[in-house]
């Protein structure tokens, strides 16, 4: 059996050191190699290309991007690595894992238990996206996009607007556009607090709107355009959405 390639993700350095020690201890029984260590989900994803892990050992509670969100992004990969969660205590997540037969490790982890979990890791089904989403009621911190075989992360806070074109959704940040494999409707419900719908096919970050102007184009089918910070584009506001958008704008100006 080829050795298992393992990526350790934990925000606490001593916890990563401990995991490394344990993996060393079970190496005879279960050949493995640590291909990388990361201190949060974002750093882990940045390591993916170089590390090519078979298994990701992920802590749940981490700054910037937690283990649950990391698993959500990994699940979208064409050949996702197995994810095994390790947590000291997270009653809510543990309950959900038990219900959904997701394997997880409790810290401090025992070597035998770790070997058993890794032994069946290759056969593991990735955790169900619906369960992971339920564990993150506040929504993801990043959206992911595949570009030339790489997983790119787009911080939700940087997105000015989301636009649906035919099959894809485009996310616009100050710098560039990203093609996402998501549905605009799902994004609207997940990030209802952050984005507002302007049009059948456009969501805009509430804090990106700087003003509105009348649409003077001859063939215009909408009366108003939304002006955004940092980008020159003006987004049309549909007649149907205008009352809602207007009342939001009024709230803003008062």
């Amino acid at each position: 059996m080829p050795e298992l390639r393992i990526l350790i993700v934990d925000d606490e350095a001593p916890a990563r050191a401990r995991m490394r020690e344990l993996l060393g201890d079970i190496r005879d029984e279960l050949p493995n190699v640590v291909v990388g260590e990361a201190e949060n989900g974002v750093a882990a994803i940045a390591l993916l290309d170089a590390a090519i892990p078979d298994v990701v050992l992920a802590d749940i509670r981490m700054p910037k991007m937690d283990g649950i969100e990391l698993a959500r992004h990994l699940a979208a990969l064409p050949n996702p690595p197995a994810v095994i969660f390790a947590t000291a205590y997270d009653a809510y997540a543990m309950q959900a894992f038990d219900l959904n037969a997701v394997d997880y490790l409790l810290k401090p982890v025992r070597a035998v238990r770790l070997a058993a979990a890794l032994g069946k890791a290759r056969m593991l089904h990735p955790p169900a996206p619906a369960m992971l989403a339920a564990l993150q009621p506040e929504g993801r911190s990043h959206l992911s996009c595949h570009e030339r075989g790489r997983l790119l992360l787009v911080p939700v806070a940087d997105i000015l607007y989301l636009k649906a074109d035919l099959k894809y959704v485009t996310a616009r940040t100050k710098e560039r556009e990203y093609l996402l494999d998501e549905s605009l409707m799902h994004l609207e419900t997940e990030f209802a607090a952050r984005f507002i719908r302007l049009h059948r096919s456009a969501l805009v970050a509430k804090d990106a709107i700087t003003g509105f102007e009348r649409n003077t184009a001859e063939d215009a089918d909408t009366n108003w355009l939304a002006l955004l910070r940092d980008v020159p584009e003006k987004l049309p506001v549909s007649r149907r959405q205008w009352p809602q958008v207007k009342s939001y704008a009024k709230q803003l100006s008062t």
């Binding site: 925000d11 606490e12 350095a13 001593p14 916890a15 050191a17 401990r18 020690e21 949060n40 509670r61 700054p63 910037k64 000291a88 205590y89 997270d90 409790l106 810290k107 401090p108 982890v109 506040e138 911190s141």
Partner: protein, 336 residues
């Protein structure tokens, strides 16, 4: 370590020097007077007039009794409960009789013996009712004390902290056995403090030492991410305070203000003495998208309840968020 034995589980008189107790006495006796006036009044219009008339009798007696009882508090506490109650009743009755005799001397009333006796009995009854009220109140609250203690024990140290700390110690054993030993000793002391009888007051200096131990352990696993600034000037280290008021606040600050942050988080702890009050303030950064605050609110409610049990109205706990900083202020009476 000096510990004052203060066992709220046994019955004893209320603390007559406590502002809350005084206010309750004033209010309670006046309510009784109001009721008495209603009984006497032939119609509702004369009710307030009668109350004012009664007030002339009640207020001086009430104020004199409050002063006397505040003065005799420590003496009364040394007696048994039953003896202390009899003493209070006799004191109040005696004062009422003296006052009535004074009014007779001034010529306001005729001072026949039955009249003096009636006044003394009425005063003693009012005092008895108030003591009964305080006894019932203490009875109603003392199960809350043990319950609060129990709840505090489970809520205070998060399992999250215990298991992560143990894991951090495990990681040290092979590489730095000396540090691991030290950390285990600190963990043992921390848990000894958590598991002792926490109804007893402890010196503030001990409580601070406990907090430092706790922070050492957090530092072990969080490393440079945890920064702590102590602002201590003129700290009454010998001041006796309820135990484990500060540590849970610190734990909250670490859990909500430092752990979810990718950069270093700073916790500021300040002690400031202003007259007869000690202000303890605790600040931590607010992390956007951090974990929900339900656990935090529960810990605050827990501490508030224990403060009320120890100090009634004389201690307060406030929490507010301001410009990205979460600030908790605890005010304790400081009189020794």
């Amino acid at each position: 370590m000096t510990i004052i034995k203060q066992n709220p589980a046994s019955r004893r008189l209320p603390d007559f020097r406590n502002l809350g107790v005084m206010l309750r006495l004033l209010l309670g006796v006046n309510l009784l007077a109001l009721a008495a006036a209603l009984v006497q009044a032939p119609d509702l219009l004369t009710w307030p007039l009668l109350f004012v008339e009664l007030g002339v009798w009640v207020q001086p007696l009430l104020l004199c009794s409050l002063l006397l009882l505040a003065g005799l508090r420590d003496l009364l506490w040394r007696l048994g409960y039953a003896a202390a109650v009899s003493v209070v009743l006799m004191l109040v009755a005696g004062q009422a009789a003296l006052l009535a005799d004074f009014w007779r001397f001034m010529g306001f009333v005729d001072g026949s013996w039955p009249f003096l006796l009636r006044v003394a009995l009425l005063a003693a009854t009012a005092a008895g009712i108030m003591l009964l009220y305080f006894d019932l109140r203490a009875g109603a609250l003392s199960p809350a004390l043990s319950e609060a203690r129990l709840q505090a024990l489970t809520a205070r140290i998060r399992p999250h902290f215990l298991f992560n700390s143990l894991n951090a110690v495990l990681s040290l054993i092979r590489a730095e056995p000396k540090r691991a030993e030290h950390a285990l000793e600190e963990l043992a002391e921390l848990f000894r403090a958590l598991m002792r009888d926490n109804r007893e007051l402890v010196p503030l200096a001990d409580e601070i030492a406990l907090c430092r131990q706790y922070l050492d352990l957090e530092k072990l696993r969080l490393g440079d991410r945890l920064k702590v600034v102590w602002q201590i000037d003129d700290l009454p280290g010998e001041l006796l305070v309820p135990p484990l008021m500060l540590q849970p606040l610190l734990e909250n600050a670490v859990y909500h203000g430092v752990e979810p942050s990718e950069t270093a988080g700073e916790i500021r702890i300040g002690f400031l003495r202003k007259g007869e009050e000690l202000f303890v303030s605790l600040e931590n950064p607010v992390i956007a998208g951090g974990s929900h605050q339900a656990g935090n609110r529960m810990a605050l409610a827990n501490i508030r309840e224990r403060l009320a049990l120890h100090y009634d109205l004389e201690a307060r706990l406030e929490a507010r968020e301001e410009e990205g900083i979460y600030k908790v202020t605890m005010v304790l009476p400081c009189r020794n």
